[in-house]
């Protein structure tokens, strides 16, 4: 259901090739296994907390796969592990945020084209608008891809961002993962009118609502939206309808606000299983391929876990050294006191 369809301007990308479909499956399998494992890591005491994206693999991998890291820039929230993986970000450096090593993660955001992990709901959507306007000012064709959820859509910054972007024709794709839940509050008590994409009409910009559990539909919608931006037509809202199958975080207990029956009926068909069936039906992949993808996912997770377990705390001096580019006498003095008076690391 497109509330304001994109004009047919010849920007539609060709459908994914069989190789790309297999790659999408491999990515989704890796993300699924890492996500499920990260919850186990938390239970085992390897990491203090994690925000699972179980059920959102198609929305995340499909959209992240559309990014051109040579020119685009992505603005994640704290639940975009699948996007990071699809973009090729170093996953030990990414998962380090959940090890409580460094809030923003240890990856280089400038080099990886993924902004630091953002814990403020809707905190980075305006950053995407500013970055995108910078592309306009320099006549670059990069596109900002801003992630937000149904809960974030309640924040005033989302309105300001969409309005600014529309007024300035900034090349931003607002990618909404409507996963049905903002911790314990369902979409119907969060999003008036039922659709974030519908709001795009009010800003005079295209709004696309896609099946967020169909990775091909997500990839095609994101590509169309990015092509629209890249051609200088201004921003687009893409709302991927999906479902948060897991808890909000490893500290959450969904049993307090939804029943297992509600979870089963709300979640629909597993996006990974859907893609698998599609590949089987199309003769694009066979059981040996799926077994190999699973084995690769397990090997990858083992390697990431080893990297995470090997991560020690950062040197305490970084607390002081990374506040400013040009430090202050007061910080210098505090760092000296800390060094003298603490059992520091």
């Amino acid at each position: 259901m497109d509330t304001l369809p994109l004009p047919d301007d010849g920007n539609a990308a060709p459908p994914p090739t069989p190789d790309q479909l297999r790659e999408l499956y491999t990515l989704m399998a890796a993300v699924r296994h890492l996500d499920v494992s990260a919850v186990a890591w938390q239970r085992q005491g390897i990491i203090p907390g994690y925000a699972p994206e179980l059920g959102q693999e198609a929305a995340q991998v499909g959209s992240g796969y559309a990014v051109d890291v040579s020119r685009d820039f992505v603005f994640p929230t704290y639940r975009e592990m699948g996007v990071a993986r699809a973009m090729g970000v170093d996953m030990v450096a990414y998962m380090s945020t959940h090890k409580a090593t460094w809030h923003g993660g240890l990856y280089d955001p400038a080099a990886s084209r993924l902004a630091p992990i953002q814990a403020v709901v809707a905190g980075s959507v305006l950053h995407a608008v500013g970055w995108a306007h910078g592309q306009t000012l320099e006549q670059n064709d990069g596109v900002a891809l801003a992630y937000l959820g149904d809960g974030a859509s309640s924040q005033g910054d989302v309105h300001e961002a969409m309005n600014f972007a529309a007024v300035m024709k900034a090349p931003v794709v607002f990618f909404v993962q409507n996963n049905g839940w903002a911790i314990s509050v369902p979409t119907e008590r969060q999003v008036a009118g039922g659709s974030v994409a519908a709001r795009a009409a009010g800003y005079g910009i295209p709004g696309l609502q896609v099946d967020g559990n169909d990775v091909v539909a997500v990839l095609e919608a994101t590509r169309r939206a990015m092509a629209h931006c890249r051609s200088g037509n201004g921003p687009v809202v893409v709302e991927a309808m999906t479902y948060r199958r897991g808890p909000h975080s490893t500290s959450d207990d969904p049993g307090r606000y939804r029943s297992l029956d509600e979870e089963r009926s709300g979640a629909g068909e597993d996006p990974l299983r859907r893609l698998r069936q599609r590949l089987l039906d199309g003769g694009i992949a066979d059981d040996a391929f799926f077994a190999a993808a699973q084995a690769a996912a397990e090997a990858e997770e083992a390697s990431i876990r080893e990297g995470i377990e090997a991560l020690g705390p950062r040197p305490g001096t970084e607390m002081f050294d990374l506040v400013f580019q040009e430090t202050t006498p007061a910080l210098h003095h505090q760092a000296a006191s800390w060094r003298e008076e603490s059992e520091h690391v």
Partner: protein, 351 residues
């Protein structure tokens, strides 16, 4: 017309730095500084509500859009969080944003972006995404403005790790401090005392090159004295200089220290001044409780405990919402209240 004059006008036309001394209002001095920053740094961009075509409600950006183009100086929609959030993204894209919040009280709707994003992005990104953002905030009271147009937010900003805060007291300081702030790689909140926008003063354009005197960092002694140090910033500096003249008539020799940088505070300059005078009064427009005067008093006490003749006194606004214009003069520290503060310190007796 001499060649020197011609050269000076040519320099003004390109926005290149000038030399010599000129009498300018603070509004003109700030405008000149921004003009030069735009000319010197192609990545500098100025934006905010009414900053473009109108030149800002205080005309600080007057003429800059027509001179530098709509890509360098532009109007935004009327939303402060949007302006500051957009600044973060522009900085990430390699720009040096110089946003304006039209009035101090309207920085509040942008506090999340200022505190949680601008102040922390360098840290969060481990220094890979610096935030060279110079946020201009017309600040403080004294112009009979409506509600939320006369706030003093320096203690709030100075408390936030990752921000630097500066306030000029006269046209010379305005020109040099803004040129300095707008070339730093860190976020600086630039608090312009709006009651001083139209006061003229000499701007020495060559001072930036002179060693010592012209340094745009730290505090600055604006008047030397032997008996007591008045510490102030923004519009309160000129008031303290007036007070010093009056006190001199009674034989009291008052030193006036313009703190200039409210973060980082120049503790060495504070201590050097008060070790000499042995008495200090800090003056600010902001409310008393948890105001920056408390920080100044602690720094002075810590550095001068053995030589202080009296506890550091504070003469400040009251712990009340900033009042309507009719009561403004009752709220802002006036000459009499500052003189009373001086008297309390001079007459202090131990025990």
């Amino acid at each position: 017309m001499s060649n020197a004059t011609l050269e000076s006008e040519a320099a003004m036309a390109d926005g290149t730095p000038r030399h010599g001394v000129e009498q300018l209002s603070m509004q003109q001095a700030l405008n000149r500084a921004l003009d030069e920053v735009l000319a010197e740094n192609p990545k500098a961009v100025i934006f905010g509500e009414d900053c473009g075509r109108l030149g800002g409600v205080f005309r600080i950006t007057d003429g800059l859009q027509s001179k530098h183009g709509e890509n360098r100086v532009f109007d935004t929609p009327l939303a402060e969080s949007g302006i500051l959030g957009m600044s973060v993204g522009l900085a990430m894209a390699g720009f040096h944003p110089i946003p304006e919040v039209q009035f101090d009280g309207f920085a509040y709707p942008a506090i999340n972006q200022i505190v949680c994003q601008i102040a922390r992005m360098n840290y969060r990104s481990r220094g890979t995404l610096p935030m060279p953002i110079t946020l201009r905030v017309p600040s403080f009271g004294g112009i009979r403005a409506p509600e939320h147009h006369g706030e003093s937010l320096e203690a709030l900003f100075a408390h936030v790790p990752g921000l630097k805060v500066v306030s000029p007291s006269n046209p010379h300081e305005a020109y040099h401090l803004l040129k300095y702030a707008a070339t730093r790689p860190d976020p600086v909140i630039f608090m312009e005392p709006k009651s001083r926008y139209w006061q003229k003063g000499d701007v020495d354009f060559s001072a930036a090159d002179a060693p010592g005197f012209g340094a745009p960092t730290g505090a600055k002694v604006m008047r030397e004295g032997r008996h007591l140090t008045l510490v102030a910033w923004g519009a309160m500096v000129s008031r303290c200089l007036q007070v010093a003249e009056l006190a001199a008539e009674d034989g009291i020799d008052v030193e006036v220290l313009d703190l200039r940088w409210l973060k980082p505070i120049d503790a060495d300059a504070l201590v050097a001044s008060v070790r000499k005078t042995r008495r200090a009064v800090v003056v600010h427009e902001a409310p008393l409780t948890s105001g920056l005067g408390a920080e100044v008093a602690q720094l002075v006490t810590h550095g001068c405990f053995d030589t202080l003749k009296a506890p550091v006194e504070r003469v400040t606004g009251f712990d009340v919402p900033y009042p309507s214009g009719d009561l403004e003069d009752e709220y802002i520290p006036n000459i009499d209240r500052i003189l009373f503060g001086i008297q309390r310190v001079l007459e202090y007796r131990r025990g």
